[in-house]
């Protein structure tokens, strides 16, 4: 019971600033069709290919506000305000662009220090992308 009362809602945990620290393929075949081993780590070039059509394009710092606003910041990108909300039991993160384009991310972990998001990427038909974040301000 104590653990239950001490637990925090995923929504409360999410509020604050998060820094991207890793991009990896979570579900990926170990070898290519040519038999060449495939690394799970995603290079900067592949990452750019994956995110070019996504809202989160070039973002490095994600700041979630309690009023449902998300600010994405990156070295080469202007500050981009979006709307965010959590659905289900807090396991689905929706990001809504001002033009109402919406992206969904699966929230695997969100606690006081770490956040792990997943999304399906069709790029190179490689599989599910795992994004790991560290809280820098909360």
């Amino acid at each position: 019971m104590t653990m239950l009362f001490n637990s925090t809602s995923p929504e409360k945990n999410l509020i604050g600033s998060w820094k991207e620290i890793a991009w990896e393929y979570e579900k990926v075949e170990n070898y290519s069709e040519d038999g060449i081993p495939i690394s799970k780590t995603i290079s900067k070039q592949i990452k750019q290919e994956i995110v070019q059509d996504l809202i989160i394009h070039q973002a490095e710092i994600w700041t979630f506000s309690p009023n449902g606003e998300l600010i994405l910041k990156g070295e080469q990108m202007p500050v981009k305000p979006l709307d965010w909300n959590l659905k289900g039991r807090g396991n689905v993160l929706s990001l809504i662009h001002p033009d109402l384009k919406t992206e969904k991310y699966n929230v695997s972990v969100v606690n006081k220090d770490e956040m792990i998001l997943y999304f399906d990427s069709d790029i190179h038909a490689r599989g599910i992308v795992k994004m790991t974040f560290k809280k820098i301000e909360g």
Partner: protein, 246 residues
């Protein structure tokens, strides 16, 4: 549909009740998956998620999912308490749970359309209300049909259908009217559920949360249909009694 109880029900009664309630359950479930990313007409998946969240020691999420399962349980419990303890006629005692279900779905529809700010707490509560409503519906249909009609989840139904179709590979079972009727009932329920789900998926794009109001109209149709039948039956009985007296 609502007036008869258990073994006095005909296959036609069960098919009407099953078809309409399965249609509304399919609508509610698909709409809630689209809007809230959570199933609201069945709890098997929620039990699996509950176990997963406990294993991960995500106590908040585990408590939320437990609350959802409990809401479905309480819905079943409440509808049967009303049926068992009601001193009114069977039509009224069976209609009251459906009225409660309509109130739940109306509250989700109107709140979602005009008030909802998409916070997680609101989402969790609205999912709980819908699970409660589906529990009420399932408890009612299962109870009054002697467990022949369950319309909010299709696991048991698909199992029964598989068993029946396997039995129909033998001529003696193919010619059994009772078994043929059971298969027809199951097919009506599954096709109504699917149709309701597809309908909700299509109309949601245009009417958003008002899709729950449409589900209410379907349930309201059951109540009104039965009310008209009830009145006609009562009128005929009174007329016969008067004729007999004189």
């Amino acid at each position: 549909m609502l007036r008869k109880y258990s073994n006095s029900r005909t296959l036609e009664d069960n098919m009407k009740l099953g078809g309409l309630t399965a249609f509304s359950a399919g609508m509610v479930n698909v709409a809630s998956v689209i809007i809230f990313f959570a199933f609201t007409s069945n709890v098997t998946g929620h039990y699996a998620i509950l176990a997963e969240e406990i294993a991960k020691q995500n106590w908040y999420e585990a408590a939320v999912v437990f609350g959802w399962i409990f809401a479905f349980f309480i819905g079943n419990f409440m509808s049967n308490i009303i049926i068992i303890h009601s001193k009114k006629n069977s039509y009224q005692s069976h209609a009251i749970p459906l009225v409660v279900e309509i109130l739940c779905l109306l509250s989700v529809g109107f709140y979602g359309q005009y008030v909802y700010t998409e916070t997680l707490t609101e989402t969790e509560i609205m999912i709980a209300i819908m699970l409660f409503a589906m529990g009420i519906q399932n408890g009612l249909t299962a109870s009054i049909s002697n467990f022949a009609v369950k319309t909010t989840h299709l696991t048991g139904l698909t199992t029964d259908l598989g068993i029946l179709l396997a039995m129909f590979t033998k001529k003696e079972f193919r010619e059994n009217e009772k078994m043929k009727g059971k298969a027809r009932l199951l097919l009506v329920i599954v096709s109504s559920y699917l149709t309701g789900g597809i309908f909700a998926g299509v109309v949601y794009l245009n009417i958003q949360f008002m899709v729950f109001i449409v589900a209410c109209l379907v349930i309201g149709l059951i109540i009104l249909y039965e009310y008209s039948k009830f009145k006609v039956t009562k009128f005929i009985r009174t007329k016969r009694a008067v004729n007999f007296k004189y």
